[in-house]
């Protein structure tokens, strides 16, 4: 298993690139890469040449998250002003603008079936679920307040929700918070199940294994990637190697590897069998805010692709095999 650089676009945005995702292929076009940046735009790129397809404007502050519907036609972008803009990928027509004050908006993810958009609600200590047909707020999953012995709650130790992840069967939703705890919810019953512990620093990215609905990977500022049995509440393994915060994690479609991006400016590829880093890409010159494996589908299913985006304003595309 290895990564091979295919293409890098320097100055892909006018400022730091903070978010990346793949809009799956539709009947009429191959998959598109979506990137969001501090320059307040979302850009769409055709792979493999990374040709700029379009630049979406409309946000007033930096774009912190982008998410694409599993069918590939709809996508959502959110910025620091906590508006979510849902738009048609191909026409850029605005479908809906979502906000749920006082919740902020951090990471967003569509559920595997595409019926729900989950939005990490920041300081509201909750995840908002939006119905993707009516664009109405379905439910707010709140993390129960811990009756801790710490009355002097500091801003850093709150259950400030940063990241969300859907289990591949869509039954579970996990969210990571600033204090390092991960909360697991039963989506159907809209019920909080339990916390996963082990991190004590912000968990900025989470992802479930595509094949094992119990296996969850988390990336934290403590520099480690943890593997959890999300049902059994057990820490299965840790992978250390990054020199700084791990900002993002994504799992390969075959479920055999994960990729991580870090403030140490590297992208690492981890072999899940060996539980060890097998490759380190250092082509970025600033922190790597996003990594995304291209979902299977479309014409060339077999060739795996990984995209990474960074504060250095660039986008990189790799072949994964």
């Amino acid at each position: 298993m290895k990564l091979a650089g295919i293409k890098s676009i320097d100055n892909a945005h006018d400022d730091s690139v903070w978010a990346v995702t793949w809009a799956p292929a539709t009947a009429t076009r191959p998959p598109l890469l979506l990137t969001g940046s501090l320059d307040e735009t979302v850009r769409l790129w055709k792979s493999d040449d990374l040709v700029l397809e379009r630049t979406n404007t409309g946000h007033c502050l930096g774009v912190a998250s982008v998410a694409a519907h599993p069918l590939g036609s709809i996508a959502a972008s959110s910025s620091l002003d906590s508006f979510v803009r849902v738009f048609d990928v191909d026409s850029n027509a605005t479908i809906a603008t979502l906000e749920a004050p006082p919740s902020e908006v951090w990471q967003m993810r569509f559920d595997p079936k595409g019926a729900i958009l989950a939005v990490a609600g920041g300081g509201s200590a909750s995840v908002n679920l939006w119905d993707t047909s009516t664009w109405e707020l379905v439910v707010t999953l709140s993390i129960p307040r811990v009756e801790g012995p710490k009355p002097s709650d500091k801003s850093g130790s709150k259950k400030f929700v940063l990241s969300v992840a859907w289990s591949p069967d869509g039954k579970r939703l996990a969210c990571g918070s600033m204090d390092g705890t991960i909360s697991v919810f039963d989506v159907q019953r809209a019920k909080f199940l339990h916390h996963l512990e082990g991190h004590f620093m912000p968990v900025r990215s989470l992802v479930y294994s595509p094949y094992d609905p119990r296996l969850l990977f988390s990336a934290s500022d403590d520099g480690n990637v943890h593997m959890y049995d999300a049902e059994g509440k057990a820490l299965v393994g840790t992978m250390s190697g990054h020199a700084s915060w791990v900002l993002c994690v994504d799992v390969s479609p075959d479920g055999a590897a994960i990729a991580t991006g870090s403030s140490d400016r590297t992208v690492r590829l981890w072999d899940l069998n060996m539980r060890a880093s097998v490759q380190t890409m250092s082509n970025h010159t600033d922190q790597v805010w996003g990594v995304a494996f291209r979902p299977p589908g479309g014409n060339d299913v077999r060739s795996g692709r990984l995209a990474s985006v960074s504060d250095d304003k660039s986008i990189s595309l790799y072949d994964y095999s």
Binding site: D15, L38, W106, S155, A243
Partner: protein
């Protein structure tokens, strides 16, 4: 049965004297001899017989009687016998003189002997035997040349005179002319083939000295054939056997030596050799006995020296350095020239090194070096001494010479490396590597300490992968392999337990599975260093397992607890970290490192009072010598000074003074302590002495660059603060950015906040807002940052509106910015309902109000701007119309000209009138537009009042500015402090970050807001309680936030590292010592 017959005077009878039954009282015999006037040769025979029987007194009595003047008179013409008697007496006294050890009596004997010989000479000048005797006497007195002259006189007369030949041979032997001596011995033997065995002994000795060992051996063996009890020959043979240096030879030699000892227990040479032997077999008691006997029986300088040397060595090897020193000294005293016997100097030097008397040791080793200028061991010893004496350069010179002389001496390279470690790590590493190669070439095992040192040096130089290889090589095979070799990783999954820092189950499981969990003592340090390295390589999971492995076997290894605690702390698991430090304290309640770390953790937990106590304890545990603890206390005071909510100026001053005092104390102890310097500079900055503090910071920054282990981002931040305070925004920005990139992987939102503030002061609104957005992205839960962003947007918009010229686009952007600001503020106000962020809702509302107000004003502005644009467009349109009309008129005129019709003329007039009306209307429009303008102006005036207000605020601001700059400096100082703290932390590995962060947390929200408010003048107005002090506080809060933590992290490794190094050094040094001993033994 031998007997002599004394003829009875005047008769034919004889008295038969049985020689075996001589009377005890020699007077009886003397009476007979005298009475019968026996021939003198009988006197001699009887005297000799007495001598042979060991009855020396009788011997002397008879001879002295025989030499008396009476006899001279009586036997006046019997010259030869009289001479013989005198010579015998001379010889006797020569012998006595020779063996006498006391100088005075020795002299007396020699004088007597001389008298007798002189008397003999007076009887007959030419009697050879007298000359021979004189020669012997002179020999005994050590006057070799004169002895030679005496023998020569004899030999000139009779070249075959055996005693003279022997004497001359002896002379030549003493002169070191062994071949001449040999010739003489040979001649003596030819002349007198049956001469005593001693002659052959002489031959043997000559041959031995000439290096003809086989012939020498034959000679000695012949001696033994003739006289099986000849001790000298036995000893000589034994020495030859021993010299052969083979087991068999040595055994044979020892048998002979023992036999010699049994035959004659007082032969010093034999005793010395036996002692030597027993020294090597380790029977020190025998050594002492033998050498003491040897010392008692000889007064021969070199032999005594050898004996003392043996004795000294024995004590040396037993570790009794004082006694060894005394005996070495005695041995040295017996030696006139170091060339003869140099070993005791070496031994003495070694003992003096041990006893710390380096100067004496130096002179002794220098003597050895005179004799053996190329002796590597001596060169190494000298190098060591020079280093101890602080003359490192000379030390280097010697050790380098040693390595040059023997480029295959791994030990020398090893020592060279050790010498270089402090001054030149690169060269040290090279030396160590050479040593390693040499060990490998020699087929020896490379010492673990050497590999460890190489690894540490590589580690220090940042060659992490190489260092890892080296440490692994040093560790070799062992249970640890299963934890870090990838092949085994799947079989034993250590990863699962990586988070349970105290979990030893893993090892118990391994043991119960039949694995042998063992960590040899000499590998613990290496293992620890490897774990440190893994930490550096961010493999903290594996590192944690290794630390636990160490603790599993060596539960008292405090550093391992502390590293585990540090890892836990790096993961922000403070409670676990505290628990681990407490484990370390269980091992040693007074461990200053653990206490310092605990103090830091307590600060992180906001336990100020407890932390101060803990730090005090740490300081006390080292009698205030631990700079880390002192610096920590200094930082504590600094924070206390800056932190105080009420900002009691007196208290602040005391705390600052105290902090300064503590920093200064550290500086006095360690003038090169970066952290103390940083702290002192912070205090200076706090007091407004920016130039001084800037100088110090710059120096600290320079000094701090270049080592992996010294990472001082604080000093960068402090410098930036100073630049900021001095208004040099561009430099400050650069400094902040470099620091952020260099030390924090751009992850520190606090520095981003500083950066934003600098942009704000520099009125670079866009940069400020972007920077704040980055900060928000990094620290989403810090709502202060949002507030700041809102303020920046508000300020940006206000400043745009104040501009004299602005385009509609600009105004539009302003409006968008204001809308954003309003949104942010209202979000904050909503959020503050939910959480306690320390935001004053009222203040937010004021901001919202102000922004909305601005927004409405801006909307008007926008409208105005848009209208203006429209007007411009209209005007253009009008102009076009006019042009069209003119065109029409011209056409009409043309028509008129052509038609010249009056009526049409009228029509034309009408048209003109119409046009004029048109114009009028336009004019009216203009009027109305000016009117609207006026209205706008009134709007402006509203704005103006706002501005005025602002201006008031501005005044205040000026005041504020004072305070602000003050504040800034304080901030800067705070930062510096932080940095210092970080440094301190370095020292101990732990701690100081927490206090700052906490302070930030506590104060930041309120202060941060205040500070932001301070930025905005309007805020100042709004805040009734917002006097400059709050602002300054805020600023301080900002500055405080600076970042001690990262530094701490880095620092701690250094400490440990240094500890490691020391340990390894210690081990190495021990080894060296062993080697020295070994070399002694070889000698």
């Amino acid at each position: 049965m031998a007997s002599v017959y004394i003829p009875v005077q005047n008769s034919e009878e004889e008295v038969r004297v049985n020689l075996d039954q001589l009377p005890r009282d020699a007077s009886d015999i003397l009476d007979i001899l005298k009475a019968e006037q026996a021939p003198l040769d009988l006197w001699l025979i009887i005297a000799r017989e007495y001598f042979k029987q060991g009855k020396v007194d009788q011997f002397r009595q008879i001879l002295e009687e025989g030499a008396s003047p009476e006899i001279d008179e009586y036997y006046a013409d019997i010259r030869y016998e009289r001479i013989a008697i005198l010579n015998a007496l001379g010889a006797y006294y020569s012998y006595l003189g020779k063996i006498e050890t006391k100088q005075r009596e020795k002299e007396e004997h020699f004088i007597l002997a001389t008298q007798y010989y002189n008397k003999a000479s007076r009887i007959d000048m030419h009697e050879p035997s007298t000359w021979v005797g004189k020669g012997q006497l002179l020999l005994a007195k050590g006057e070799v040349e004169q002895a030679s002259a005496a023998f020569k006189i004899v030999l000139d007369g009779d070249r075959d005179n055996v005693p003279a030949l022997l004497g001359q041979a002896c002379v030549e032997f003493n002169r070191g002319r062994f071949s001449d001596s040999l010739e003489l011995y040979k001649r003596a033997l030819q002349v007198f083939p049956n001469c005593p065995a001693a002659v052959r002994l002489g031959i043997g000795l000559c041959r031995y000295k000439l290096g003809q060992f086989e012939k020498a051996r034959q000679a000695f063996e012949r001696v033994l054939q003739l006289d099986p009890e000849n001790v000298e020959a036995l000893v000589a043979l034994a020495i030859m056997d021993l010299r052969a240096n083979e087991a068999v030879g040595i055994r044979k030699g020892m048998v002979k030596m023992q036999r010699a000892f049994e035959l004659y227990p007082y032969c010093a040479m034999a005793l010395n050799y036996l002692a030597n032997h027993f020294f090597f077999t380790g029977q020190h008691f025998l050594v002492e006995q033998l050498t003491e006997t040897a010392l008692a029986v000889t007064n021969h300088g070199p032999t005594k020296s050898h004996s003392y040397y043996n004795l000294a060595r024995s004590y040396h090897s037993k570790g009794d350095y004082d006694k060894a020193g005394v005996y070495y000294m005695a041995s040295v005293k017996e030696i006139s020239k170091p060339h003869e016997f140099v070993f005791p100097y070496y031994g003495l030097g070694q003992v003096q090194i041990k006893l710390g008397d380096f100067r004496s040791a130096l002179s002794n080793f220098e003597k050895v070096l005179e004799v053996y200028p190329d002796n590597c061991e001596t060169l190494k010893a000298l190098a060591y001494i020079y280093v101890q004496l602080g003359q490192t350069d000379k030390g280097h010179e010697f050790i380098r010479k040693a390595t040059k002389i023997d480029p295959r001496d791994a030990q020398a390279f090893l020592e060279l490396g050790e010498l270089l470690i402090l001054s030149d790590t690169g060269a040290a590493l090279d030396a160590f590597k050479t040593a390693r190669t040499l060990f490998k070439k020699g087929g020896e095992d490379v010492p673990i300490e050497l590999l460890n040192n190489i690894g540490v040096l590589q580690f220090e130089r940042g060659e992490f992968e190489l260092a890892k290889q080296t440490f692994k090589e040093a560790l070799g095979d062992g249970i640890w392999l299963s934890f870090f070799s990838e092949a085994n990783k799947t079989s034993i999954d250590a990863a699962t337990s990586t988070l349970q820092f105290k979990d030893m189950q893993l090892f118990h499981d391994l043991e119960s599975n039949g694995h042998h969990v063992e960590v040899p003592w000499d590998k613990v340090t290496v293992l620890f260093n490897l774990a440190r390295l893994l930490e550096q390589l961010n493999e903290s999971g594996t590192a944690s397992v290794l630390y636990r492995l160490i603790l599993f076997k060596y539960p008292d290894y405090i550093d391992a607890y502390l590293r585990l605690a540090a890892i836990a702390k790096a993961r922000n698991n403070i409670l676990l970290s505290i628990e681990l430090v407490n484990d370390a304290l269980k091992v040693d309640v007074k461990c200053p490192n653990a206490l310092s770390m605990l103090g830091e953790l307590e600060l992180k937990n906001d336990d100020w009072v407890k932390a101060k106590e803990t730090l005090r304890r740490a300081s006390d545990a080292t009698d205030g010598k631990d700079s880390y603890a002192t610096l920590s206390l200094g930082n504590w005071n600094y924070f206390a000074a800056v932190r105080n909510e009420k900002r009691n100026p007196k208290l602040e001053a005391t705390h600052l003074e105290k902090a300064k005092e503590l920093y200064t104390r550290v500086m006095i102890q360690h003038s090169a302590n970066l952290y103390a310097a940083n702290g002192a500079a912070v205090v200076f900055a706090e007091k407004g002495h920016f130039d001084v503090s800037k100088d110090i910071f710059a120096q600290v920054q320079e000094a701090a660059s270049g080592s992996v282990f010294v990472q001082m981002p604080d000093v960068w931040i402090n410098l930036a603060h100073v630049y900021f305070a001095q208004g040099n925004f561009a430099l400050a920005v650069k400094m902040y950015q470099n620091c952020l990139r260099k030390f924090y992987h751009n992850t520190d939102s606090q520095i981003l906040l500083y950066l934003a503030r600098t942009h704000y002061e520099a009125e670079q609104w866009q940069d400020c807002i972007k920077t704040l957005q980055r900060a928000i992205h990094l620290a989403p839960s810090n709502y202060t940052l949002r507030f700041d962003a809102g303020v920046a947007m508000q300020k940006f918009s206000a400043s745009t509106l104040q501009k004299a010229k602005r385009t509609a686009d600009e105004v539009r952007a302003t409006v968008a910015g204001l809308q954003n600001a309003v949104r942010i503020f209202s979000q904050l106000s909503a959020a503050s309902n939910l959480h306690i962020h320390g935001f004053d809702e009222k203040k937010i509302d004021t901001h919202v109000g102000y922004c909305t107000h601005l927004l409405s004003a801006a909307k008007v502005h926008l409208e105005a701007a848009e209208r203006e644009e429209q007007q411009i467009r209209q005007r253009q349109e009008l102009a076009r119309q006019v042009a069209l009309a003119e065109e029409a008129r011209r056409k009409a005129e043309e028509q008129r000209k052509i038609q010249m019709d009056r009526r049409k003329h009228e029509d034309e007039l009408k048209i003109v009138q119409q046009q004029e009306e048109n114009f009028k209307r336009v004019k009216e429009q203009w009027k109305s537009s000016t009117h609207s303008k006026r209205r706008e102006r009134s709007d402006d005036e509203d704005g103006g009042t706002a501005e005025k207000k602002r201006r008031k605020g501005g005044k205040r601001r000026k005041k504020d500015k004072h305070s602000k700059s003050h504040n800034d400096t304080e901030e800067a100082e705070a930062d510096m402090m932080d940095e210092q703290e970080m440094e301190d932390e370095d020292v101990d590995m732990n701690s100081r970050e927490e206090p700052q962060t906490q302070m930030n947390d506590d104060e930041e929200n309120p202060h941060g807001l205040l500070a932001l408010a301070g930025l905005e003048d309007s805020d100042a107005d709004d805040e009734p309680a917002g006097p400059p002090s709050t602002i300054s506080r805020r600023r301080q809060a900002l500055s405080e936030s600076d970042d001690d933590q990262p530094i701490m992290r880095q620092t701690s490794p250094v400490r440990e590292q240094s500890v490691d190094m020391e340990e390894s050094d210690g081990e190495i040094r021990d080894e060296k010592r062993h080697e020295d001993d070994g070399s002694d033994e070889e000698k």
